[in-house]
């Protein structure tokens, strides 16, 4: 997956100012940065649901949003997008049909996301963490080759977060490419590559080791701060 010169305007302001990004196949790429920095917009552009002003986005060799990609890309929005008035099972069966996956796929993603105890429960009665796992489970149906996950671990306890990152690791081991956004910096250690996005510009695109070496910082959080302090002022920034 790659973007070249990607510019996106949302409302009156430009959110992405010409983003060039490469995500190598089969890797877990963490998209980090403060909220409002353009992470969600970049992910929407990759999935092909975002109107873009300029630049190109190529996904699995095709332009983003191409009809041929719709069953090959899984997408989880930041807010869980499932039907609250349906059970976990009914939600997943519907999305499985839509994605062209069979019934066994439903059982498989239920296992993967640890929702076995909740299959008969209505989605509106799930806890916040269970709901976001259901939203993730729906995206795993149909064995997508690229998974775009917008803050999938937000609001989850440490055990669940670890389990999900283990799952992401297994998926990438099976050849799936993952683009995962997070604002929890310590999740960076679980990614193959890190992309730091701030004010709509890529501040860094490197491995964790490379990033730490370049900045001389002890961890991602400090590396990020180091980069921010030495970065040129953002586009359209008129000073404090």
């Amino acid at each position: 997956m790659r973007t070249r010169g990607l510019r996106v305007r949302r409302g009156p302001r430009e959110v992405l100012h010409g983003v060039d990004l490469d995500v190598p196949a089969g890797q877990v790429v963490g998209l980090l940065g403060p909220s409002g920095g353009g992470k969600s917009t970049l992910m929407r552009a990759v999935v092909g649901v975002q109107v873009v002003q300029a630049g190109e986005v190529t996904v699995l060799g095709q332009p983003a949003g191409a009809p041929g990609l719709r069953s090959r890309v899984g997408y989880v929005t930041q807010a869980p997008s499932v039907y609250g008035d349906l059970t976990v099972r009914a939600n997943l069966r519907y999305f499985a049909t839509v994605m062209g996956a069979g019934r066994p796929a439903v059982d498989e993603v239920v296992e993967q996301t640890g929702l076995r105890g909740q299959v008969g429960q209505r989605a509106s009665t799930l806890s916040g963490g269970q709901l976001s796992r259901l939203s993730l489970a729906a995206a795993l149906l149909g064995e997508p080759e690229l998974l775009v996950l917008d803050e999938p671990t937000v609001g989850l306890d440490p055990v669940l977060r670890r389990d999900l990152w283990d799952l992401f690791g297994r998926l990438s081991g099976a050849g799936v490419t993952l683009l995962v956004s997070s604002h929890v910096m310590d999740e960076a250690t679980r990614c193959d590559r890190l992309v730091l996005l701030r004010h709509g510009e890529v501040l860094a695109d490197d491995t964790l080791a490379g990033l730490l070496e370049r900045t001389g910082a002890p961890d991602v959080e400090h590396a990020f701060l180091e980069l921010v302090e030495h970065a040129p002022p953002p586009v359209g920034w008129s000073g404090p």
Partner: protein
């Protein structure tokens, strides 16, 4: 459009409805309560026989408009529509699924309301009661399609509810139920010609007043189908895979 995906969507919408017992009860029983009330007000006399059938065409239109505009808006705001449009599901499958699911509800609603009006309230109908059910279903489909279109212009459910008086009440006033259309001022009569509810009421009147009004009603139903198709097409244009 893929029949399998359209049917899966229809099944999903029906499952959602089935989970909401109160809405199902309101959908199926409210028209009966209102028709019963009307029959009582006019003591079942000739006025009831005149406007009863027309109301059987107005209810499904109104109810389906509200139900569809709210449910579609909910899909838009909950993110499920964005998710669906990023999958192989076609816009036609989405719209068709809703039309099939709510169409079935409309037929059930019309069947119960018609049976209640004729059986319990003693409504006199010259033509076939089945024709009344058919016209009611066509009217529901137009409400369905218009509600779907209207939902694109609402940001909140509160706004969507306000669209009901905006889209439906003017049609209610001009459809010939209160004053026959040919007795209205020329301008209003001209406007009434382009409003779908007028044809639903015309068809209902044709069926109820003479035993051979079927042919006339069929022409009106064809027009209603054209309205529904037009509104569905406009509705499809408001379903964007890419949004700003």
């Amino acid at each position: 459009m893929t029949p399998r995906l359209t049917l899966a969507t229809a099944l999903r919408v029906v499952q959602q409805l089935r989970a909401d017992h109160r809405t199902v009860a309101l959908l199926l029983l409210l028209p009966c309560v209102l028709i019963g009330l009307l029959a009582w007000v006019f003591d079942g006399g000739p006025v009831f026989d005149r406007i009863g059938p027309a109301l059987l065409g107005v209810f499904p239109f109104t109810v389906m408009f509200v139900v569809t505009s709210i449910t579609t808006l909910r899909e838009r705001t909950s993110g499920t529509l964005e998710r669906l449009l990023a999958t192989p599901l076609g816009k036609g499958d989405f719209l068709g699924g809703y039309a099939v699911a709510f169409g079935m509800v409309a037929v059930a609603q019309a069947g119960i309301a018609t049976a209640f009006a004729i059986g319990v309230c003693g409504l006199q109908v010259a033509g076939s009661p089945w024709a009344l059910v058919g016209v009611a279903a066509a009217s529901a489909l137009v409400g369905n399609a218009l509600g779907l279109f209207a939902s694109a212009f609402a940001r909140t459910e509160f706004q969507a509810v306000q669209f009901m008086p905006a889209f439906v009440l003017p049609q209610f006033l001009l459809c010939g139920l209160i004053v026959p259309r040919d007795q209205m001022p020329a301008v209003l009569e001209a406007v009434s010609h382009v409003l779908p509810l007028s044809y639903a009421v015309d068809a209902m009147n044709a069926v109820s007043r003479s035993a051979d009004g079927g042919a006339e009603a069929l022409a009106d139903v064809a027009l209603l189908a054209a309205f529904a198709l037009g509104a569905l097409t406009l509705g499809a244009l408001t379903l964007r895979r890419r949004t700003p």
